[in-house]
Symmetry: C2
Subunit: 333 residues, 2 copies
């Protein structure tokens, strides 16, 4: 149940009730959704997940809510789902040969309903908004995030506000948000200004903020990992490799792995590799040189990971420790 989870600061450990709107700790630290693992450990969750595999019924047919005990254990009638997930895990003999590895598979998150992994976080975030009684949701975004949020807000009958920095619009994605009835607000200023403004609006008008800082989105994104492992019949791979921009996915994967391991659903931890673009590599710099994290000016053609000040850098460092992980950088080529 929802009540079996709490929000907990990753810095000072302060705990908060999930039933109240909160994005950060009073100390400024990021929040984790922490589940009651000792209680959950008494249940045969892996059997539960496997029994739901292939289900045609809502919400078991969702590649997120199939794992709801470890995500947000919301009452079924509160869940806002398309459904989402159920993306394929592709083998590729050609890439295996190229990379010189025996077995490698690709998880194609573009197969989500609005065409990105964001749907996994948003189904969870909008469900949280629903349970918190919010009627309006908002984000600052130039692309996938707004499309996904608008889609889920539409299902829930919520108003959706999207704050857009000037001149930074991915039109294909914005048209998705508009088609789902989102209200878009173009502001004078860059992404940071848009982010500031949306936070102000959320605090003043009981609007629920669904940018990356929202801890429930990370919970939903854990389902990428859960689904990979279930597709492999819970056989743990040696490595899980992810691109790193805002660092939400690697944060989610490491948190999910740790939970599965603590519950005994997997018997060993795979290692995690986070790959950054040379021109947007703040985590790589910190990890490689053991230096304090420092934001940077990001520049890469890989726009989705062109982020110089990633929200989840601290959660990422923790996750790298948990998984004996590495960070690598790659050139534009």
């Amino acid at each position: 149940m929802w009540d079996n989870s709490i929000l907990k600061c990753i810095d000072c450990g302060q705990e908060y009730d999930v039933g109240h709107v909160r994005y950060r700790c009073d100390c400024g630290g990021l929040l984790d959704v922490v589940h009651d693992l000792p209680m959950l450990g008494k249940r045969r969750l892996r059997d539960t997940f496997d029994a739901r595999w292939g289900s045609r019924e809502t919400p078991d047919n969702s590649g997120v809510w199939r794992y709801r005990e470890l995500i947000v254990d919301a009452p079924v009638e509160c869940i806002v789902s398309k459904p989402e997930g159920n993306t394929n895990l592709y083998p590729s003999a050609q890439i295996e040969t190229y990379a010189g590895v025996q077995r490698m598979m690709l998880k194609h998150e573009g197969e989500n309903p609005t065409a990105s992994f964001k749907d996994r976080g948003m189904t969870c975030g909008v469900t949280a908004a629903h349970m918190l009684g919010c009627k309006t949701v908002a984000c600052a975004s130039t692309g996938n995030t707004s499309a996904s949020l608008a889609a889920y807000a539409a299902i829930a009958g919520m108003q959706c506000l999207v704050f857009i920095p000037e001149g930074k619009i991915a039109y294909g994605k914005l048209s998705q948000a508009l088609a789902y009835g989102a209200r878009t607000i173009q502001i004078e200023g860059d992404f940071d200004t848009a982010m500031e403004l949306v936070q102000k609006v959320c605090n003043e008008f009981n609007v629920y903020l669904l940018n990356s800082i929202n801890p429930f989105r990370i919970e939903g994104q854990k389902a990428i990992l859960f689904e990979i492992l279930q597709q492999l019949d819970w056989e743990v791979p040696d490595w899980i490799v992810l691109p790193g921009g805002n660092l939400g996915n690697n944060t989610a994967v490491s948190k999910g792995l740790r939970e599965l391991h603590q519950l005994g659903i997997i018997s060993r931890m795979p290692r995690m590799a986070v790959i950054q673009a040379e021109g947007a590599n703040p985590l790589y710099r910190t990890w490689k040189d053991h230096t304090t994290f420092a934001p940077m000016h990001a520049d890469t053609i890989a726009t989705a990971i062109k982020i110089g000040n990633p929200v989840s850098w601290k959660k990422s460092l923790r996750g790298l420790e948990w998984t004996d992980g590495v960070v690598e950088q790659v050139s534009e080529q």
Copy 2:
């Protein structure tokens, strides 16, 4: 088995062995892949399909090959699959309200590996190419078709040729084809010229043609229908509604329905509605006025269905009869 199917002309009824490359009848008529339904009727195919549902094993984990007895019953080791299909069937309370219907669901074929339904036909067409011993495949295309063909040719280790009419390139899609190693040949002339040229090349150089005329692609696209029905636990909806451009999908759906009905897997036929754009409505004109089919100059912003001379018009008329179907047109708005 492959040998339990034949190619049969929809005009004169002439039969041909599936084991030889052939795209049209000697009389010029289109070919159907005809399966040995009396033999298949003795097997409990629905149980077979249901037993494969949710499988993690190749090729049962494909939303096409799960139904292989009714598509191309190729030996498992010959199948060229990503896998594909397994696209979600979404409810939408909002659209139900808007349309004034009690229950309506959306099949999101964009969730296929290269992001369109073309993958369902191509997995089947490239498997046929493989069984026919062809080492090179080709198509004339400006978009989804080339991306999909290139992806499957890459898996099979085949050379892929794409003929592109000048100035009519969807760059996002073309870049997919290039990334999969296709050789693209831009020609001076329109789509019809490109089509003529690719047919000539295929006939002269033992290259396998995978444009819409290829009957195996229709077989693969039938899996859209099979998967919808299986997702509904074989409960037949009242209507199946499809957009109509080149008319391959409605052809596939009507053929699949007829086969399922003849096999007793469904107990009644749903009706089929084909929706065309006002500016590209040759099937609508023929169906509404009971006139002879006539190609037209097509013009609509819905580029994927902007086709004035659809390959499958004759198969479509047959399918409309089988399903007590209708054709409707809609404005650009």
